[in-house]
């Protein structure tokens, strides 16, 4: 009896070790397959940064080598000053800041009442917002252009900010509604007993508790605004000095087409900040994207 039992144990132990070894092997194999694939995925950005530090001569001569022979920062200076990227950078930051502020304010208020209150018309409002998901953007650009013109906001940064904030932002609203909806009722009951009104309950008690959702909305809207192309392109047509980074680079492409290193430097100036923002706040961004499916 004793020997049989001992034997059984050791074979179980043996089995477990085999499994661990199989898992390790699987990890090593997938890592070996995924590494080159993931490197190919980020290769365009590596090439961009490397080309930005090369001379045009080296890009065309030395070909595919990613490490510049003599790194130079002269291209960045040329892009920043000569190609006006400094102005475009400021415009992009201003537009992004404005639209992030408006979107956080409007979607948090909307999400708060939809998530926490039952009132006549609630289902209609939800229905309208969900229906807007299925509209392609190219469909609405002409009336938006006309509307901004009629408001007297054509050729202003505020016009771009307003148009960018005007999307229905269903995901943000649902994220706020879900988050506010699951907070305990006692939170505002205690505050109301203390004499707090509707505004104070929201701004001083509940909104500060929604920091994770605010972070998600801030970073998602920041990236969306930074990367937007069609709206700023159309709305800054008459005013080249209001161009954003993406519109500015598009306009200069024809002019500097042979200056690959200058264009690469300009692209690096535009893209690296947003990648850094993403890397530092990655968790919130991924949660926001995943929220689209869960809700």
């Amino acid at each position: 009896m004793m020997t049989v039992k001992a034997k059984g144990l050791s074979s179980e132990e043996h089995q477990r070790r085999l499994e661990i070894r199989a898992t390790r092997l699987r990890e090593i194999v997938t890592t070996i397959i995924l590494t080159p694939l993931a490197l190919i995925w980020v290769y365009p950005f590596l090439w961009m940064v490397s080309a930005a530090m090369k001379t045009n001569n080296e890009i065309f001569r030395a070909g595919t080598n990613l490490l510049p022979a003599e790194p130079t920062f002269e291209n960045f200076q040329r892009a920043w000053v000569q190609a006006n990227m400094s102005q475009y950078f400021l415009n992009t930051v201003a537009i992004a800041a404005g639209s992030v502020f408006i979107v956080v304010a409007t979607t948090s208020m909307m999400g708060y009442v939809l998530g926490r209150y039952r009132f006549p018309g609630r289902r209609i409002v939800i229905g309208v917002f969900v229906a807007t998901v299925f509209l392609p953007k190219g469909y609405t650009i002409i009336p938006i252009f006309e509307l901004i013109g009629n408001l007297g906001l054509d050729g202003t940064l505020f016009g771009v900010i307003l148009a960018q904030s005007g999307g229905a932002h269903v995901i943000f609203i649902l994220l706020f509604a879900g988050y506010f909806g699951q907070m305990p009722k006692e939170l505002e009951e205690a505050a109301i007993v203390d004499g707090a009104g509707f505004l104070r309950v929201f701004f001083q008690i509940l909104l500060p508790l929604a920091k994770p959702v605010i972070a998600t909305v801030v970073i998602m809207q920041l990236i969306a605004s930074w990367n937007d192309f069609l709206l700023p392109l159309v709305l800054t047509l008459p005013r080249p000095e209001l161009r954003t980074l993406s519109v500015g680079m598009f306009a200069f492409r024809g002019e500097y087409f042979t200056d690959w290193s200058g264009m690469a430097a300009a692209a690096t100036i535009a893209i690296i900040p947003i990648i850094l923002v993403f890397l530092t706040m990655q968790r919130y961004f991924i949660e926001g994207i995943a929220g689209a499916v869960k809700s």
Binding site: E27, P44, G138, A163, N227, M249
Partner: protein
Amino acid sequence: MTTIQIPLAKPVQHSRSLRQRIADNRWVYLFMLPSLILTLMFTLYPIFASFYYSLFQWSGFTSQPFYIGMQNFSEVIIDSQFYNAFRNSFIFMFCSVPIKLSLALIIAIVLNDRALRLAPIFRTMFFVPVVTTTAIVGIVMTFIMSPFNGPINMILLDLGLMGRPIDFFGDPKLALYSVVGVEIWKWLGIPMIYWLAALQTIPASLYEAAEVDGANWRHKFAYITVPLLKPFAVIIVLITAVGTLNVFALAMTLTGGGPYFASEVMEVYIYRTAFGAANSMTLPRIGYACAAAVYFGLSVMAVATLQLVGARWAQKERAGISAAETTAGGE
């Protein structure tokens, strides 16, 4: 007295209570106002305005529109350039969506493996293109895929895979598919995150139980992963398909619709008809562009509706089958 009062009082009380409830909730309505006004102005109004403008001949935003009824619509429908852009948009969607979604699913399943310790780093690397500025990435990609000293062609030539460089965006046969390729690379990260979120709703205990029963990875995929992902798949396909029609920034910067309109998608066509003509000799045609936009918008919504109806139908079918199974099991 009381018998008369009751039926009379009921509707009055009801309407009063509704008014009362609205009055009680005045802060609620006030809070919805900013968001509702913005949505009304920039999302709902443009839909109706597009249709209205499409009834006018209107050459430039500074000129006077001139009512011509449905004439734009009858002209757009026989315009070969409209047809070309329309077809390209749908070719784009039908090429991009299946490849992007299946690639994303494979990567998501691999990354969802808890044994893979580097998974977060890989996930970030696959996701990075998503957050980068589309129009600028488009310009960078025209360099990278350029037939003149572009690194991709240089690598292919060095490896001896090609005799001569490929003109990805200059060859009319290739241009549209090259844009599809860049689009898949750029946006793969989003469906990957969707799939990962969906996969994480499947409890690990299910797989463990299947392993005890001796299931291999193919069994686990077919009998656990696929059925449990299906409800998510419907919405993921829908969001991805509609998103794929929104490719203006890439199409504009990679090819601008060229060569010879070979890769012109609907958004580029609308832009060119309404705004782009400013640089050329022809007059912009805003009403005409709106008519094209209305056609396109309606078709997109039709596709979305078909998909939703199809998904409902599939769900019902499945519910029917599983109901039949349970009754059969009960017997």
